[in-house]
Every structure is written in C-alpha cells, then in structure tokens.
C-alpha cells in the first residue's frame, strides 16, 4: 500500500517537475541577459520588435519575425522559402518551446541575423523572450 502511494505521488509530481524545469530555462536566460546589460525587460517592447519590419538586400526585401512565425504566437508558422511547417512559438500551446537554452540561443543567432541583418542585443533577446513566454514574472 505504501509503495502504491509513493508511486502515485511521483507520477502526480511529473508534470510539476517538468513545469519547474521549463521556467528554469527562461529564468536562467533572463538572469544571464540581465547580467550582460539588459535593463527592465518588457514583453510589450518584445511584441513591438516581433512585428517590426527590417529592410534586407536580395530575396525577401522586407523581413520580420512574423514573416515565418505569423503575428500569432499560438499559430503554426511556415518557412517563407521552403514552406516547411514551423510549430507555434508559444509554450502555452507548444510546451517544448523555451525548454533548452542551447536551442533558444541557436535560433536567436540564426534568425536575428536573417531578419535584422545582425545579432540581437541582450536587451532585444530579453524582451522577446518575455513576449514569447507570455510572462512578466522575471
């Protein structure tokens, strides 16, 4: 009987454990951005940057995050060139998002370079991270 209780309790804890580790990734990233100069990160600023259009040379002369991700974080996106499906950005509908630091940084690097023509600053990354996470708790 005791064993049953232990097993059931650990099973019940599973979603809680993963929820804790998910927010830990976001928290660690935010700490690191702040330590490197991000000041009062804001989801509102992040939202504006997400929708901002940048000029580029060559194909796709006007680029923004929404070019591939759409302006709805809970919607499925589409790679503008290959048409490959991009899963929704919002962890509320896609719990895999924002769970791996390496992955977040990899895509910030690649996609900021394509969209803005340069790497994003820690401020910009902190703002966008808050916007995607849909949280103001950091």
């Amino acid at each position: 009987m005791k064993m049953h209780i232990i097993i059931l309790t650990s099973l019940a804890m599973l979603p809680i454990n993963s929820a804790i580790s998910d927010s830990a990734t976001i928290e660690n990233l935010m700490q690191s951005y702040k330590a490197n100069g991000a000041v009062s990160p804001s989801a509102e600023q992040g939202k504006r940057l997400w929708g901002k259009t940048f000029k580029a040379k060559g194909a796709f002369a006007e680029r923004s995050c929404t070019t591939c991700h759409t302006d709805d974080l809970t919607a499925t996106g589409k790679h503008v060139k290959t048409s490959k499906v991009i899963k929704p950005m919002s962890p509320s509908v896609n719990p895999e998002r924002l769970t791996k630091t390496r992955k977040v940084e990899k895509w910030f690097k690649r996609n900021c370079k394509w969209t803005l023509g340069r790497e994003c600053s820690v401020q910009e990354k902190a703002d966008i991270l808050l916007y995607i996470a849909n949280t103001t708790s950091f």
Binding site: H79, T82, K84, R110
Partner: protein
C-alpha cells in the same frame, strides 16, 4: 534428405540475391558494373538524430549520399549564407555533422545511386544543389513543370519527399514515387 534440403536452401538464397540484380534499374549511363554497386540500391538512409535536428528544421532532411564530399565541405563552409538563410552551428555540432556528411557522402558510399551521382559530376565541380547534378537532371528530364514547379503540393525539385515517399530512408526507386495530383510515375 538433409543434403537435399541444404542444396535447396543454397539455390533459394542465390536466387534471392541474383533476382533483384537481374531486374534492377539498368541505367548504366554513369555506372560500370563494379562489384560494390550490386550490393544495394538507393543512397544511405538518414540515421543521425543530430543531423535531423539541425539540418531538417527549415527544409526536408537531404540524405548525405546525394552529394559528394567536396560539395558538403563547401556547404558547411558557408552556413552563414545558406541559400540566403543563416544556418550557423556551434563548433561541436559543426564537427559532428561534417563528419557524418563526409562519411556518408555520394563518393564515399557503396550505394548504387550515390555512386552514379558522384560519377556524373565533373572532377572540378562541387554543386551545392542536388538538383544541379547531371545525374539528377538526367533522371528528371521527362518531368513536366505542371507536376513540380506549377504543382502547389510540390513547388520545387528541392522538396524530394513530396513525390519520393521514401526519400528519408534513401529510396528513390520508381515504385516509391507518388506525384501529388498525378499518382504513380512510370518511366
């Protein structure tokens, strides 16, 4: 009795091995009859999870055996402008993926179709697009635009698996072709 069984088994096994060879695609334009070519058809399937994760987020996963090593080397040295997109990798990932691509590249592979692709490319050339290799062009020269570029479910020759339903497993056999809106393709 036992020996009869054993002899039957041997005949059966030899039959299994030779029948596919006799009836396989006999396009020898880019291939001699080297021994290794008869071992397997197609190109090596994609069996590297890191490669799939890193190189199949934005586009389909292209089997390494579809381009020669020198093409992959050139590709990997220009990831900051990868067909107009940024596809940079961290150093560890870069090393592992490069090693996987080179080891399974068309000119290092024993697979029949890989060898044909490799042989179709001039020694000094290192094409970055599979669809620009002479072997690819030869194999697709009868496909009309309405089936590919004008077909909204295909759009481009770069979407291999739109028609080659076993592309990721490395099979480009004619039996594994279904063109959206047109169905099977018979040469």
């Amino acid at each position: 009795m036992k020996s009869t069984l054993a002899i039957s088994a041997i005949i059966f096994t030899v039959g299994l091995v030779t029948v596919p060879l006799v009836f396989s695609d006999n396009d020898f334009r880019w291939g001699g009859l080297e021994e290794y070519e008869q071992k397997s058809t197609g190109v090596p399937g994609i069996n590297n999870p890191l490669y799939k994760e890193e190189c199949a987020s934005c586009h389909i996963a292209y089997a390494p055996g579809l381009l020669p090593a020198r093409s992959w080397e050139k590709m990997m040295s220009g990831l900051d402008d990868h067909f107009g997109d940024n596809a940079e990798l961290d150093a560890d990932t870069y090393r592992e993926i490069s090693a996987y691509l080179l080891k399974n590249s068309a000119d290092k592979s024993d697979y029949r179709r890989s060898r044909k692709i490799a042989r179709s490319i001039k020694a000094g050339d290192a094409p970055l697009r599979i669809s620009e290799t002479p072997y690819f062009k030869h194999e697709h020269d009868e496909i009309p635009n309405r089936m590919v570029s004008e077909n909204t479910k295909v759009m481009s020759f770069s979407n291999c698996n739109a028609c080659h339903i076993k592309a990721e497993q490395g099979s480009f056999n004619e039996h594994d072709i279904r063109i959206p809106g047109y169905g099977r393709w018979d040469d």
